[in-house]
Each structure stands twice: as structure tokens, then as C-alpha cells.
């Protein structure tokens, strides 16, 4: 997966978890929870979806790495490098 695809992958997961949110204008460098309504249960859903779709394990101590889309790209880049993008939302 390229960096752009990782952003797509995360946005697709969020679209499933928070279907009422408009994700078109998400900023890369601002915390996701400051831009859309995401609580701790939603965040656990993101971690679960990464596990289910890509077999990626995110240990609890690393959760903060996923706070922004930039952080997701940086942290997940190596873990998703050899994975195929899987889109599940309406996209």
C-alpha cells in the first residue's frame, strides 16, 4: 500500500464506524477526534478493523500513534507495505 492508499484505508474504516461523518475534508495533521466525533469505543473499532482487514496488530501502548492521519501513515506504513487495500464502505 502506498501512503495515499493508507489514508484511503483509514478513511474507509472510519466511514464504516462513523457513517454520519463527512470525511472529505479531514486534515492530515489534526487529531481525528478534534475533527469528527470519535470516542474510545470507535477507536477500538478502528484497531479491530485493522486487525480483521489487514492482520495488523496495534498494541495499546501505540494507540496514540494513530491520533492523526499523518500519524497513521507513519505508523502503519511499514506494517501495510505489502498489503492490498480493501474497501468496505460505500466508496
Amino acid at each position: 500500500m502506498t501512503n495515499d492508499e493508507i489514508v484511503l484505508a483509514i478513511k474507509d474504516i472510519i466511514a464504516t464506524i462513523a457513517p454520519d461523518e463527512d470525511l472529505a475534508h479531514l486534515k492530515m495533521d489534526v487529531r481525528l477526534r478534534e475533527q469528527i466525533e470519535l470516542d474510545s469505543m470507535d477507536f477500538l473499532d478502528i484497531v479491530m478493523e485493522l486487525r480483521k482487514r489487514y492482520g495488523v496488530q496495534v498494541p495499546e501502548q501505540d494507540y496514540m500513534e494513530l491520533a492523526t492521519l499523518d500519524g497513521c501513515v507513519k505508523y502503519l506504513g511499514p506494517k501495510l507495505a505489502d498489503k492490498q487495500l480493501k474497501l468496505a464502505s460505500r466508496a
Binding site: 457513517p19 466525533e37 469505543m41 477500538l44 480483521k52
Partner: protein
């Protein structure tokens, strides 16, 4: 004797297999329209069920629907609709915050037959796809399966901060939610109760499989004919989903705000057979009917309409018919009907839905029929059992609503015409 405040029903919110409002539900009960259809669920395959159709997104966001349970969505729908019907809300999201009653003085009491089986089955199905690795077990499992889930979801959605929990009473539960609301109103602990019952049971394969193993699951080539209480060829239960919550207020409060009053809860009874896990007992049922009559200060002759619990099982219907014949032996103006013949068995919602379907009789004096009785089982013969077509009768001042459940729980509610 302590004199308790009188409590009345001022709103009805419901989701039934043949109607998502009281008006639609009642119209279908008078027109003889069944809500039972073909239905498929994993492991069981093709079967029959009553499916409640309503627009969950009218009152919930998509995220709420996703996060919550079906029973939660049903409770939320019914709570909103009851408030709107009572003239206490405008039918928009967060509407309870606009009612005349403070949020902490509103209680939510759905009866449930069971809760949590749906989510547990879903999770086991899910982890089975991953070799039973529990890393894939959802963090949503516990909040979705706790026994207060449907009530709690309604409070989150509506901003209600008063007491809210479910009453587990097997298939007698629909009456329990209403009874509990009445009690807290009479104690002065709340000012408005949303009481009744909900059920998401058609989404658990286990309930179908268990009834099948018990020889109590209905089958019929025509789904609309499958639920046939009191008919000779009845062969079991049609499982249904749905819900009904009543807005309940003290009579004085209801009058003070000029509320429409459907009826007054005159009395109730709840007891236990202490006899068998699944088999109903005429003795306990008759005792429950007498308990409710006594609580209401009425004699059997004073009851104008009995809505039976009968679920279309060979044994259950016969037992109940026997109990009614015993208690109402000399009651020539007491009419009897059954609502499950239209909608199947809505489990925890059954008692509440069935009462709702008959409440309009207090106003129009029309008794909805029992359908699908092509050949009345003599063992189920009851005087004035209304079959096939609605009956217009002289008087419907009182309704006795019966609901029974496994482990021998019996419940009865008496509702009277507003006076």
C-alpha cells in the same frame, strides 16, 4: 387500604409486524391482515417470523444504529413515538428534553423475554471466522448484551436521566414493564413512565432452534396462516420481533395538561406457577386473573374483553382456555380474542403490543377477531371467542390483558375506559 394515585395511558409507541403506529396496527387487526412472513436465519434456514418494519433513522443516527442493538432501536422508536402520541414531544431527535417533565423524572421500563443472545451468537459467528481467536471478539459485546441495554439506549438517545432498566419476565414481560411504570408513578418516584416491552428475538437462531427442538415452532405453507391459536391444526409458535411502550402518567397530571387518555390501569397481577420450566398451568393462570381482578376491585362479569396470551401451541392454548372458562364461567358479556393470530409471538413485546391493539376498543367498542381459526379445537372453546370478523359489542369498559412465560410466570393487567 392505602389510596394510590390513579395512573392512565396517554401515549402509545409501537413497532409491530403489521404496523408501526397504533392506527396502522389497529386497522390491520380489524381488516384481518397478518404480519407473518417467510424468514431465513443462519443455521435454521427457511422458517417464518413476524418482522417489524420501521424507520430507525427517524430517531437515530446511522452510528447509533450500528453501535447499538436491534432491541435498542426498537425501544428508541417506541419511546419517541409514545412521547409524540402523548403530545409530549415533536418527534425529533432529543425530543424528551422538550417535554414538560424533567428528564430525571422520566422512567423507561421495557419488558424483555431475553436479551443478549443475538449479539453473543453474532460474536461467536465472527470469531469462528478467525479460528476462535478472541482478539476478534468485539468490545461492543458487553454494552450490547447487558440486561438494561434497550432501556439504556433509549436514555442515551432521548436524554432521559431517570430510572431505566429492563424487566426480564419471559413472555409475560410486556405487562411487567407497564406494571412497573405504574408502581413508580404511584410511589411518586417519577412523573412519566415509558413502560411496555421489546423483542429482537427473531435475530437469534437459538430461539427458533429451541422451539423446534421442543416441538413448538410453527410451520405452514402459507405464512399468514401459521399462527393459529385455538385452531385444531395449530402446531406451534411464530417468533416475532417488535415493541410497544406506553406513556403513563398520573391521572391528575394528565388532566392538568389536557392529555388524551386511552385508558386507566385499574389493576394488575403477577404470580408464579412454581411447577414446570416450560409447561403452563391453568391453576396459576386462573389465580393470576383473579389477582388482577381483585386488585382492580372487579368481578369477572365486569371484564368486557379478555385478550388471551395463547401462542398457538397445542398444549398452551388448551390450558389457557381452561383457566378462562373456570374464572369467567358465568360472564355472558365478556368477549375474548387473540392478537398473536395476526403477529405471531412478539416475546417480550407481546403483552404490550397486544394490549395496545385492543385499547381502541374502549373507544370504538369493536373487538378485533382471532384469525386463522378454521376449525375450532373443542378443547379451546371459550364463550364469546371472537373469530374471523371483528365484533361490535354493547360495552367495552374494561380489558383484561394476559401474558404468560416460561418458568411459570403469569401476568395480567386490567385497563378501563377513561372516567
Amino acid at each position: 387500604m392505602v389510596s394510590l394515585p390513579r395512573v392512565v395511558i396517554t401515549g402509545v409507541g409501537l413497532a409491530s409486524p403489521n404496523g408501526a403506529s397504533l392506527a396502522e396496527f389497529r386497522a390491520n387487526l380489524l381488516a384481518g391482515r397478518s404480519g407473518v412472513r417467510r424468514y431465513s436465519i443462519r443455521h435454521v434456514g427457511e422458517t417464518l417470523a413476524g418482522v417489524a418494519e420501521f424507520d430507525a433513522l427517524r430517531y437515530q443516527s446511522r452510528k447509533e444504529v450500528r453501535r447499538g442493538t436491534r432491541a435498542g432501536s426498537i425501544a428508541i422508536w417506541c419511546a419517541h413515538e409514545a412521547l409524540v402520541d402523548a403530545g409530549l414531544a415533536q418527534g425529533r431527535y432529543d425530543s424528551a428534553r422538550d417535554t414538560r417533565y424533567a428528564p430525571e423524572r422520566i422512567g423507561v421500563f421495557p419488558g424483555i423475554t431475553e436479551h443478549g443472545n443475538v449479539e453473543t451468537e453474532n460474536q461467536i459467528h465472527e470469531v469462528a471466522q478467525y479460528g476462535f481467536d478472541l482478539a476478534f471478539w468485539s468490545h461492543h459485546h458487553n454494552p450490547r448484551t447487558v440486561a438494561n441495554n434497550p432501556a439504556g439506549e433509549a436514555t442515551l438517545n432521548l436524554g432521559i436521566t431517570g430510572p431505566a432498566y429492563c424487566l426480564g419476565g419471559a413472555c409475560a414481560a410486556g405487562n411487567l414493564g407497564l406494571i412497573h411504570g405504574v408502581q413508580l408513578l404511584q410511589l411518586g418516584l417519577i412523573d412519566l413512565a415509558l413502560g411496555g416491552g421489546v423483542s429482537e428475538s427473531i435475530h437469534t437462531f437459538g430461539i427458533f432452534a429451541s422451539f423446534k427442538s421442543q416441538g413448538a415452532l410453527a410451520s405452514h405453507t402459507d405464512p399468514t396462516k401459521a399462527s393459529r391459536p385455538f385452531d385444531k391444526s395449530r402446531n406451534g409458535i411464530v417468533v416475532s420481533e417488535g415493541g410497544c411502550l406506553f406513556a403513563l402518567e398520573r391521572l391528575d397530571d394528565a388532566r392538568a395538561r389536557g392529555a388524551k387518555i386511552y385508558g386507566e390501569v385499574l389493576g394488575y397481577g403477577v404470580n408464579s406457577d412454581a411447577a414446570d420450566f416450560v409447561l403452563p398451568q391453568a391453576k396459576g393462570q386462573a389465580a393470576c386473573m383473579r389477582l388482577a381482578l381483585s386488585h382492580a376491585g372487579l368481578a369477572p362479569r365486569d371484564i368486557d374483553l379478555i385478550n388471551t396470551h395463547a401462542t398457538s401451541t397445542p398444549q398452551g392454548d388448551e390450558v389457557e382456555a381452561g383457566a378462562i372458562r373456570e374464572v369467567f364461567a358465568d360472564c355472558p358479556t365478556t368477549f375474548v380474542n387473540n392478537t398473536k393470530s395476526f403477529i405471531g409471538h412478539a416475546m417480550g413485546a407481546a403483552g404490550a403490543l397486544e394490549l395496545a391493539g385492543n385499547l381502541p376498543s374502549l373507544d370504538d367498542r369493536v373487538v378485533h377477531p382471532t384469525i386463522n381459526v378454521d376449525d375450532l379445537d373443542p378443547a379451546c372453546a371459550i364463550q364469546n371467542l371472537v373469530l374471523g370478523e371483528p365484533a361490535r359489542v354493547e360495552r367495552v369498559d374494561t380489558i383484561l390483558n394476559m401474558s404468560f412465560g416460561m418458568l411459570g410466570i403469569n401476568s395480567a393487567v386490567v385497563v378501563g375506559r377513561p372516567r
